[in-house]
């Protein structure tokens, strides 16, 4: 029992770190963008301050909305929290893992998105309908890409759970797996950008309703509800960054607490990279986003085909 607890300890700490540092990571992206643009930027803890402020405010509800609108932020946050418990941080195993847990992660995230899209339509606002429509489109196209990526990982490692995949991948020779890992990183990177509404898919800082996706869907949420949604979004970003780090930085020989530190450092570098990408390019036209996702799909298929050579 004690031994089990000892192995579980880094996992629990990794989960808690995720819960604690997700907003910090978002701050890191903003800070990077500010620095590249030549500004000082907001403090790294700005998101925490915003969230605390929002939690103390009153919510404003549109008269058109129903209970579904009020439930959606809670559902959104709960799905991401539950999904995060199944995602390993680099080589640190997840708190819960079982054969096929990747589908449970995907299912829970899809449930959260389903709720957010319905809540957007619940307001009867044309802008939010527009956002939900775009979210539905990109989500539908991304789902198969995400599954091919994970299937390629599963084929490469012979494992059927995320934790096991990362465990095996971290013990494989990095130079031989490189031809598979590179296209996988590209595909997962696009998945990260699309799922988290980052540039060049969505502009999180725009002020025009017509050109947003995620932000416009939550236009009518306010107060604690908005805080929940922002936190859920940050956690989701952490989740995808953790997956990306696991595939991108398969470092053998470190284990336990050392790999935990390695994972957090990886997430920080991913965030800085994302901030740099965001600073260096403009948002794509919405009609061109499917092409980007299709490209990621092609990369994941290439990775999948190359697994045959590597194994």
């Amino acid at each position: 029992m004690m031994a089990r607890l000892a192995t579980l300890a880094p996992s629990v700490v990794a989960l808690l770190l995720g819960l604690g540092l997700a907003f910090w990571m978002v701050g890191l992206v903003s800070r990077t963008k500010a620095r590249v643009a030549g500004r000082v930027g907001a403090p790294l803890v700005q998101c925490y301050r915003d969230a605390i402020k929002l939690l103390g405010k009153a919510a404003v509800y549109s008269r058109t909305t129903t209970a579904l609108f009020k439930a959606s932020p809670v559902v959104s946050l709960a799905t991401v929290l539950a999904a995060l418990a199944m995602v390993p941080l680099g080589d640190v195993e997840a708190v819960v893992h079982f054969s096929g847990d990747l589908f449970a992660v995907g299912g829970l995230l899809a449930l959260g998105r389903f709720g957010t899209m319905l809540a957007a339509l619940d307001t009867g606002s044309p802008f939010e309908g527009m956002g939900a429509s775009r979210e539905a489109q990109f989500g539908a196209l991304l789902e198969p890409v995400f599954l091919i990526t994970l299937a390629a990982l599963s084929r490469l490692t012979g494992a059927t759970s995320l934790t096991e995949m990362m465990h095996v991948l971290h013990r494989m020779d990095a130079t031989t797996t490189l031809p598979v890992v590179l296209p996988l990183v590209a595909a997962l990177g696009v998945a990260y950008l699309v799922e988290n509404a980052r540039m060049p898919v969505d502009d999180p800082t725009t002020h025009l309703e017509l050109t947003m996706i995620h932000e416009v869907m939550i236009l009518d949420h306010s107060g604690p509800d908005l805080a929940f949604l922002e936190y859920a979004a940050a956690l989701k970003q952490w989740l995808f960054a953790a997956l990306l780090v696991g595939v991108l930085l398969p470092i053998a020989g470190v284990s336990g607490w050392a790999s935990l530190a390695w994972g957090v450092a990886g997430i920080a570098s991913v965030s800085i990279a994302v901030g740099t990408i965001e600073s260096s390019m403009a948002r794509l036209r919405f009609r061109n986003v499917p092409g980007l996702i299709l490209g990621a799909g092609a990369a994941s298929v290439v990775a999948f085909l190359l697994t045959g050579m590597v194994r």
């Binding site: 103390g56 579904l68 009020k70 847990d101 829970l108 389903f114 789902e143 084929r155 045959g308």
Partner: protein, 664 residues
Amino acid sequence: MSPLTFVGAGLALFCWTGASSWLARNHGRLAQGLAGVGGVLASVIGLWGAVDVLVSGRSFELTLPWSMPGSTLHLGLDPLSAFFLVPVFFGAGVATIYGVSYLRHDAGRRRIGRTWFFYFLLAAAMGFVTLARDGLVFLLAWEVMALSPLFLVLFEHERPQNRRAAWIYLVASHLGAACLLALFLLLSPEGASLDFNAYAASSASRAAPPTLLFALAVLGFGSKAGFVPLHVWLPEAHPAAPSHASALMSGVMIKIGIYGLLRVLSLLGTPDESWGWTLVAIGATSGVSGILFALAQRDLKRLLAYCSVENIGIITLGLGLGLVGWARGETTLMVLGFAGGLLHVLNHSLFKSLLFLGAGAIQHGAKTLDLEQLGGLSRRMPVTAGTFLVGAAAIVGLPPLNGFVSEFLILLAGLAGVGGSSASIVVAAMVGVVAIGLIGGLAAATFVKAHGTAFLGTARSQAAAEAHEADPGMRVAMLTFAGACVLVGLAGSFVVPLLGAPLAVLLRQPVAALSVPLFAAADSLGVALLVFAGFFVLLLALFTLRRVLAKRQPAVEAETWGCGYPETTPRVQYTASSFAHPLTREVASVLRTKESHVDREALFPKPATFQTSTPDPVLDHLLTPLFEGVAKLASRARVLQQGTVHLYVLYLALTLVFLLLGLR
């Protein structure tokens, strides 16, 4: 008493109920009462027997004499039959409760008796199809099952589109039946016996190649199940029938096509790998195109009918992966593929029935099923909205509902195949995984559109603004189905091991040989259940936190943000078509959506109009021209028929001469 007695009694009671409500047709309320009591009683009795067989894994046979040469009245009840009898009895029983409420306002009219007669005849015939163990008995039951929905589709026969739907249904159904006739004759050893046991025993000595038999089975049963491009009758027939009948047809009857396919597969012996490939291809095509067509529809019932095509695709995908595994001797792939397909049969019967009943409630309450006329119904129809939401989430495959469990099994099968050694298995599994992913994403878009435009926002028409909630009986039925969706979703780890017995019948292997992958999957689902339990705890905790915060700072009411314009109208809302447009535009060449618009660009523009509709391209661009071509060719042969006796005498003489020359 043996379970076969219970099942038989249930089916007989269905027949009796149908007959008695028809006899009582002049007394609307009596007919309704008889239908309600008889239907529910029959379901409970039959369900008892079916569940008993499913849990115990035993089989029962009964042979009665009848005066057909080469045929015996051979009935049997094994776990495979029992598995399909569960949706038959459960679906028919719950939909009966709904129907009694639904038809209440029509009770003064004579067609009530007729509707109930054919409804129960359909239910009984579906049961008898699963019990038949003889080719002739099977075909007779099949034909009754195929014909009775015709009269349900013609419920409102005064509408021309319903007569057209009935006609399309009849043609599709009989083209399928023709294939089945050929199939059962070719299956028998030297045409001597039509008994299923004889079919199975003669699998080595049969003259017809097994692949031909498989192809006939796919065509015959596929036209009932709704494989693309044989699906054309579904979007026509389902909207025409009364909603409880649509629920039975879409939820249960099309699955009997799947049952037939599985039963014949169990008789054909070890399959060829190409069969698995065929089913994977059909499944992926039906699944993806079905959901794309569903996405483009604006009539809710048509949308649901196309979505049935999609779900049949998912089922077929699972079965195809199972067949590939069977042919290759990969146990995990075989068991999980078949198990996922089979479980999706049950799951789809629950959520699709639920959604059709919801559509019926909307038709009743808001007088239209055109999504562009609906909106804001969840305030006036909370129970319908809530249960429809459960059904929508379940059909999309979201956890922790039942659709997730069956798709989880198919995806696990996909992972097992992806890790396989032979290229053909890997590619088949990959196609399966990609298709399930794409279908899942598109289904989410479709049902956000359906639920969002019908129930959320504000009413787009006067009728929707004045909608009323469904009657109590209808609500009970919808709540029952929704409860079943949640229950199967949460109890996945207990339901999955039950699939061992039906799979053992299908694969002709002992249950023990199949149980390892099943129990492994059940274990995974058990851990997943823990995660979902944690999810519920989190939900509760967050709701409590939310409530505490709201006490300190009470919420304020306002209007929806409209860029500063306070006065908005329902017409500014996103419509169902515009919601789907970004996706349907990508595949416009397949969908062939018709757009008609009047743009008025001038200094002082007059009102502009824009309209889209998506009729079935397979019907319009493939089948209709095909049948017209056949008719044209046939009319050429009319030259031979001049209606003059001399000419016919000449034909006779010529034939005689021809025969004499030939026989010499």
